[in-house]
């Protein structure tokens, strides 16, 4: 239906009267921008309901919000450093309980994976295991050695063994949260060791204390 678009005025395809505008009347302007963000309303909103029930629910809501922040389910993102160390911060530390899920109800892959499985959901046992260490450590270290040999990285030195022992003891003393860190630390360990194997191990002649003290060396 090619209309006569080019000739003279545009004609409407329908009876303009049906829509309510009389012929020749000025049509309202075309709007060229999105509607305003906070439009004015002709009618003000109805006031909120007030009553005992509503007030109680309001108080409940605010309380729940606060409580949820303190529950162990609220996983916090690591905060940026405060600019000034405040005195009152000591009094506002929140006491968060640990929460250990019932592993029987969850898929197996949910459990935090550790090289030392004993440091899993039973922190108490982990402590005991941590004290009588040498055996388990050597086992795991041996396992690691095999792995590393497969990757063709050559020999491990005593320094590296001590590094691993140091980090393992620290990881065993921790809670579940620390276990995740330990897993990460151990991953770091492997990377560190692989890199360090590029150099001769006696390159750092700091003696046996190197690496066993601080874990800061792990972070790059």
């Amino acid at each position: 239906m090619a209309g006569n678009k080019g000739r003279g005025r545009a004609a409407y395809t329908f009876n303009i009267e049906a829509v309510g505008f009389s012929k020749g009347e000025k049509l309202p302007d075309v709007v060229l921008k999105p509607p305003p963000l906070f439009p004015d309303t002709d009618y003000k909103p109805v006031p909120l309901k007030t009553g005992e029930g509503e007030e109680y629910m309001l108080a409940l809501k605010q309380e729940l919000r606060e409580t949820m922040k303190r529950m162990p389910y609220f996983i916090e993102t690591p905060e940026e450093r405060q600019d000034i160390e405040r005195y009152s911060k000591r009094y506002m530390k929140v006491y968060k309980e640990e929460w250990i899920p019932d592993w029987r109800r969850l898929p197996r892959e949910m459990m935090p994976r550790n090289k030392c499985k004993k440091a899993g959901p039973k922190p108490k046992k982990a402590k005991d295991a941590g004290k009588g260490t040498p055996l388990t450590n050597t086992e795991d270290v041996l396992k690691k050695m095999e792995e590393l040999e497969k990757r063709g990285d050559g020999e491990k030195s005593d320094e590296e063994n001590e590094e691993k022992e140091g980090s393992k003891e620290k990881s065993k003393e921790g809670d579940d949260d620390d276990d995740d860190d330990a897993a990460e630390q151990e991953e770091y360990d492997e990377e560190e060791q692989e890199e360090e194997n590029d150099y001769i191990n006696s390159y750092f002649e700091d003696g046996d204390d190197f690496g066993a003290d601080s874990d800061d060396n792990m972070d790059e």
Binding site: G20, K49, E54, R65, T77, Y91, D102
Partner: protein, 507 residues
Amino acid sequence: MTQAEIKLCSLLLQEHFGEIVEKIGVHLIRTGSQPLRVIAHDTGTSLDQVKKALCVLVQHNLVSYQVHKRGVVEYEAQCSRVLRMLRYPRYIYTTKTLYSDTGELIVEELLLNGKLTMSAVVKKVADRLTETMEDGKTMDYAEVSNTFVRLADTHFVQRCPSVPTTENSDPGPPPPAPTLVINEKDMYLVPKLSLIGKGKRRRSSDEDAAGEPKAKRPKYTTDNKEPIPDDGIYWQANLDRFHQHFRDQAIVSAVANRMDQTSSEIVRTMLRMSEITTSSSAPFTQPLSSNELEFVGKSGDSGGGMYVINLHKALASLATATLESVVQERFGSRCARIFRLVLQKKHIEQKQVEDFAMIPAKEAKDMLYKMLSENFMSLQEIPKTPDHAPSRTFYLYTVNILSAARMLLHRCYKSIANLIERRQFETKENKRLLEKSQRVEAIIASMQATGAEEAQLQEIEEMITAPERQQLETLKRNVNKLDASEIQVDETIFLLESYIECTMKRQ
């Protein structure tokens, strides 16, 4: 899921569980069912954090998992369940009205923790109640257990599906994830526990207000030593039952408004009698015998007349009333008149609207178009000629309640998202001031605990100047208003959702 719903879920998850859980949760809602590694890869979070977040989400019944072939476990989020978090205060308050403080705390603990064993719930609630009692008195476990049993009997709490007890004849490796099953009959079966004990009062040295900083947190391992008698039997709040209760409440109050008190009492009794026997989404209740009312239809003559409450009709008229009131508040009472007229006549031409509503043509036209543009109404074309020429077609205005309800529901989700954002914005704007006042309070509390003089306390209080106090007052008022609005918009959401669900079931 619509964008508005996803946005609202994101805000709710962030407020309640933090940003990491929010990221994982929103990702799952957006993309559907996914395995663990894909989630970690797509969201760029470490595997450990994803695991933690998923544990939290599964604990709170927001995410479920399923084992697929080849042992892959996929996780799926329930968007509608996330939206229920808005309604927690209402659930708790309702339990308070029905079962007083003990019941209220039980439901609160269940909602806050997702799922718990009965013994855990009883212990926590008893401890909390003991805190609020006077010195020397303690709360007995038995009373708490009784309330718990009553809640289970009326189906307000239900058992979670549990791990099936397998006999160890299965030699193969354990499955990657347990398939949880629940037997219909067992859902409300309370295990026979003899919980003897009293609530413990928390020692005051555990409170934060005490003088010493706590360098090391005491480990929460003391209770793991004793075997828990009902280990593995978890309970959760039965949200559907609460919804049923709300719906009944809404119907009863609607009847009370339209007719008189006695009719509403009758309806209430009918509903109560059928509370447990009807499933939550049945369109009709079980037939009972009583008097005749608007929502009540006759369904038989045995036993002196069997009557049925037409729940669908009741919900439909509630939803319609909501729509009408929205139109009235947004566009004025004349518009509302037109709206009701179109509702009544089902299909009506523009000319007829002017005549029936007795409103001048220009105004009527304007209002009709306004409502049309906001999607409260729609146009139905009826062509007179086969070529559908516009000048020879009837255009009829009509209201499709279902689609209008959906539109309004969508707007409600957007409103709540806006309210939450505004509240967070207000809080963030005044963060410095809020923190300052919190610090001052903490200092005052610690000084009071160590016995300071009145003058010193006065001095500390003056650290907050008068205009700052004013600002805090205003902030508090605004935040309260926004919170209250959220709660009340949620009531509308509930009505509309129930109506839409009921209508969809019928079709």
